[in-house]
Symmetry: D2
Subunit: 391 residues, 4 copies
């Protein structure tokens, strides 16, 4: 199953780490640590192999991929020896990264993206291309009536109105080009009724939002622990210190608000009540790509006795995110092949702010993910078409 | 279902907190925080209510229960107002705590315990008595051929040989008296083939070992998180600082070794490999009943990038343990009533070192526990008769 | 040396803890833990004894002192037995707490405070009264030309203009009544040229600002450690989680800004450069009187190698502040007796944002404090008058 | 002032980092971060410059210096670019590292070391050679009557008895060759009356013991903070997790005991009492050269209120130690030049277990160090002649 992965934000840290990692895995130079689809429980013939993957993408900056990779190596995110070992493969991907169309009327912007996606699919004779948004987090856009349905949206776009944020413009273009869409960021992406309608119309699956890589990952196992033990969480406060490009952007209040909100969702939905406290994101340039998060949880136990727990997480965000990007692209490709349409709620395992109303407990999300893979495996042998009927 | 809870170590911190808490719950003076059998998902008509419970026990010390409770209140483990509110109820329990038989030949020791249990059951016309060991952790005993089977064991006991540690002597007596047995400590308890044989013969269930209340509880959700994310745990080191009676005893190298071993089991079994590092238990008298545990986990992610997490847990051990003692007694009573025989592996949720070969992931253990409760519920409606025969 | 301590904010947590503690010390019911003037190196015959102290003050709330003390005891800030042991002494202080004058033209407000101070001094035939501001932190006021000199200030006050924040109004009144003034808060207090002029005119000493009790105290020893070892601090980020009355007020952005600024001063002045990062204060009601602060310091060592340190401080703010309030009042009283005039820069040891340009290293501040005490001791034997000439 | 630094353990991590760093500083390729003698307060014309330094040493292993340096670079201890930039300079040092004499009678061992030191001094026409012990920590040796005085020691050595541990044999040889001796390890070194006598006889200074680089450094500022604030430290517990060669050796119980003891000394001597708790050192191979130490301090404040502080230190031991090794060698060389004889107690700033009875407060040790440097400076201007006689 020849599969394209089209990265919006292709020269960013997450994208570059994903690309270098996939190329290194294909070349047998690295272990698939961090790739959950390579765990025995999830390995599946229905997924494209690393050798099946081809990369392309858009970005607004022009730093060469290899320079970005070297910068990441210098920062300890990637081993320098891997970057040095795959110059030709990186050059090939470089040639598939296009300048993000900009300063165009909405319909032309969409058409330009569709053209880029189609050319990419054709050139490599790919079975499908999955578009993954790993670009800079946007502020939440103002709501607009045109978001409510596809015909209203199309009318507004034709009238030249800028009613969609960039992430949603990409989702629109992806669906138009027949591509599934994954949003790894907290941006709006496909999360609008009009776009859901478009995806259904084109019979495409999509997934999101906001990769769950650090503090929220830990929350998604600790909050259920408190719940299962009937311990009352009184306060949960957190601070995230991070540098890098993502950090710089999150220092913007609007993006910060979008991100902080998606980080707290797990607590309310797991515990059934919202404890006091908040999660802060602070940009500290010198911290670089290794984020430090600290959380304090105070809780009461039997007869009201007060207790506390704190944790510090010191993780490399890009190294945590990149394998998940590959997992998501592979799973979404297989779901598309199997005829799945609409939001892939079984991928909640990967997201801070997932589609669907399922549990935020990592263990339950893991169960759902295993269920999806089993379904894909069964589907593979049978017939994608018939399953499309059900979806 | 009138149910007795017979506590071995009845004047200890865990026992006293369990007793005060149950009496306060019965009097409507406290919330059942920390009692997992009071969660909506686990509440069940098959369990005895708090009003159904009666307490008795053995101890080697003579400090009055109310004095112990006041000391715990002064240390912040219990609210003083609760202790003050239930003087008569505490006096009733006081009258049911017997000096632990000692300095007797094994058969006489067993006979004395059996007599105490029988008298307690009769006096309160209890449907059953669950014996729960919350006494001081023993060193692991040397192995002995008489442990291998019941007839060999009986022969050795009749010959006056001391082949059983105290915890196992209590298990023997409990089974002989027709009582289920729960071991909340890492001691040997019912964990000998000869005793398993005796329990089967008497058609009794049992459970253990070593209540999972602090650091290991956290491990049982964090280790699966690393596993589910395919992150490679390289080292996991921990230190537990604790005072109190339990801490003083664990300062003894042999008891410490028993406890440390049961603390690491979760890692190997969850991860499938044993990371470097060890768990230490240090006695620091002044720390008192509020234990502090610190754990450092180093792990590698995608392309080998090194990361780390650390947590500090500051919990009141007795306040964490006591509601679980009540949960275990209630569940084991219901299992007995339902005719269950042998090790209750579905209670792994509660233990560091559980019976059975099931998962050490807290979420999977939770699933098993829910399964047990559903089974007990169904049993209640369907087929009370056959169970009545066993009970 | 009969000494009055007049507390602005007399019903607050810090004030109440100071009062209860001083009464308990006088009654021989407690140890002077936390009182630095009771250390062998600083004990001095020139200081008033605990038996010499009398308390009064102003507040805008009317909660009885004993109720406030009981609430603090319930929260674990004070031992309940101490509060119960000194009912009569508390009643005496209660009778000396006046409603804070409010809604009056500035000159009348000042006159009212002067009258209260004078009556208090006369009633107890006190040698002197030290006014200590422990009331709610104010936002930083806008600057005003009348702050620059005493005659401009007096003109504005006479014209009925509200040019002084409350803390400075109290300082004005204190000086007018011949009382030294200590500001334990980050509010403006005596920190205006016009008030410095008034203090000089009345030959009075004063001290401030912002008691150094938690995270900043730790900074004042850690920052010099990095400096003395020639290690380069790259980032220093902190978060303070606190509840209580002070926390609620600091949740106000303006007060928060005033406090955060005084918290970072130590870094720039000790290191000679300002590392990246910031200090946050978050109000979390349920945290109560026990504040938790977490700081992360990243630094580089030899050949640029990156390293890090983090600390968590879990302190009871009022219990840390109260003994310092007593120390400050005793030292300032002795300095007044010895004829000292103007800012007591040797008291920098106690403050986050001290008067003067001295070192922010706690050890050097300790040296200066010892110097002051030695000077007071010598002065005691001699003659306050002549020392007034030098000051 | 041409100065030799002779490193016992010259192929170890600390030695290699010291050598690479000094060569890089000489070549202008690095900043002197971590070198306290390069702080404005301590810079002194009396010290040898980096250009004045020449390196040699002994080791029992034969790994080439450049290989060891590359391994340290791979582990993140050193920048790889520095190692690559100084191949010739490293080769020169390589040629001066001798196999440590072994399996010889004591007098021959001493003679061999003396010969190596003398040849080294002569070949480079050095004014003096400072011997610095950075070899593996030894177990504390049994005491022996020959340690008490020089004549008894000489008699035992001549009789071929092995009464000195290796570190002391090196000290004996150093003194015999007219070289000052610094012990950066907790080993015995010059800490025997007989060796003190020898040093006095040869008019030589010496320094030690056990470089203060991590947890103990932090203790030496935090313990005085608690003391200066009259807060009562109740417990102080610590755990050090470290890998590397030093870690592997410290896993040996005897070396571990030697080290743990020197780590606790600061507490008792600073606080005036020994709080409960202990410091553990655990070897975790995978932790490598970056040690993690965690300490928990519980303390009580005013009226007995309990509080706590914890810190985590994540430092690169060799990067912390190496600049101090250079500082110590430069200061000891200057002290020798200035005619100082006997233990250099003013160097306590650098050591966990210093000579002398001075304060363990880092700030006071800093004061003593500044005093020493001022004295050396004055000596330089005044009375070079008399010192020339000694040198
Ligand atoms: N790393 C993680 O753990 C993680 C987790 C969850 C979500 N995310 C999200 O993933 C995204 C990427 O993170 P990153 O660390 O790689 O950030 P980054 O700043 O390194 O990369 C973002 C890239 O997007 C590009 N870009 C910006 N606007 C664009 C546009 N209009 N069209 C195309 N490209 C555009 C930027 O030029 C940049 O190269 C962020 O939104 C982040 O919030 C990351
Ligand atoms: N508290 C927890 O979180 C927790 C978790 C897991 C296991 N445990 C285990 O539970 C047990 C109880 O803990 P605790 O904190 O109450 O300790 P504790 O020391 O306060 O109480 C133990 C009691 O057992 C009594 N005892 C000793 N030997 C006895 C004997 N032969 N017969 C009868 N009684 C005897 C002691 O006198 C004491 O009163 C310990 O073994 C502990 O390891 C506790
Ligand atoms: N506790 C510490 O460690 C610490 C350290 C440094 C500074 N401080 C400062 O000390 C002050 C007191 O702290 P707290 O915890 O006691 O706060 P609190 O809120 O408990 O007490 C403040 C008191 O001031 C009173 N008040 C308010 N406005 C007043 C006015 N105009 N006149 C007279 N009284 C007035 C309030 O009614 C209240 O009783 C705060 O400003 C705080 O920032 C405290
Ligand atoms: N790094 C720090 O922060 C620090 C702090 C205080 C003390 N120290 C001490 O410094 C010493 C060196 O630490 P390291 O990390 O470099 O250890 P390391 O194991 O890397 O180096 C020790 C070297 O000594 C050599 N050696 C062993 N026996 C010898 C002998 N008889 N003669 C000559 N050489 C011998 C070894 O072969 C090795 O090369 C240790 O004793 C350590 O405890 C280090
Ligand atoms: Na911590
Ligand atoms: Na920590």
């Amino acid at each position: 199953m020849r599969t394209g992965i089209w990265l919006v934000g292709a020269r960013g840290s997450v994208a570059t780490t994903s690309i270098v990692g996939a190329l290194a895995l294909r070349a047998g130079l690295a272990e698939p640590t961090g790739c959950v689809t390579e765990l025995p429980e999830l390995r599946s013939p229905s997924l494209p192999t690393f050798a099946d993957l081809r990369f392309g993408g858009h970005d607004v900056v022009t730093i060469p991929l290899v320079k970005k990779a070297e910068a990441l190596a210098a920062a300890g995110v990637l081993p320098a020896r891997l970057v040095a070992a795959i110059p030709d493969q990186l050059a090939t991907v470089e040639s598939e990264i296009r300048p993000a169309p900009a300063d165009l009327p909405p319909t032309e912007m969409i058409a330009a993206v569709v053209a880029d996606l189609t050319r990419f699919r054709d050139r490599y004779r790919l079975d499908r291309v999955v578009v993954v948004n790993v670009s800079t987090t946007e502020p939440a856009p103002p709501s607009h009536p045109a978001h409510a349905g596809l015909s209203a949206l199309d009318a507004a776009l034709l009238a030249g109105e800028t009613v969609l944020p960039v992430s949603s413009t990409y989702a629109y273009a992806a669906f138009t080009a027949g591509c599934p869409y994954v949003d790894f960021t907290p941006s709006t992406g496909a999360r609008l009724p009009a776009l859901a309608e478009l995806a259904r119309q084109r019979r495409l699956p999509y997934a999101g939002h906001d990769g769950k890589t650090g503090e929220t990952l830990v929350k998604s196992v600790l909050a259920p622990m408190f719940a299962m033990r009937h311990l009352r969480v009184r306060t949960w406060s957190g601070v995230n210190l991070l540098g890098g490009g993502d950090g710089a952007n999150l220092a913007e209040p609007a993006a910060n608000a979008a991100k902080s909100a998606s980080k707290q969702r797990v607590l309310g939905e797991t515990l059934g009540y919202v404890p006091q406290g908040r999660t802060r994101i602070d940009y500290v340039d010198d911290i670089g790509d290794f984020k430090t998060a600290w959380d304090l949880v105070t809780f009461s136990g039997f007869l009201g006795t007060g207790m506390r727990m704190e944790f510090t997480w010191h993780g490399c965000d890009s190294a945590l995110a990149a394998p998940l990007v590959l997992d998501l692209a592979r799973l979404t490709a297989a779901a598309h092949a199997a005829g799945r349409v609409g939001p892939l709620t079984e991928l909640a395992f990967f997201f801070k702010d997932p589609f669907g109303t399922g549990s935020h407990s990592l263990a339950e999300q893991w169960g759902a993910l295993r269920g999806l893979v089993r379904q894909l495996d069964t589907g593979t042998g049978q017939d994608g078409g018939s399953r499309a009927v059900d979806a």
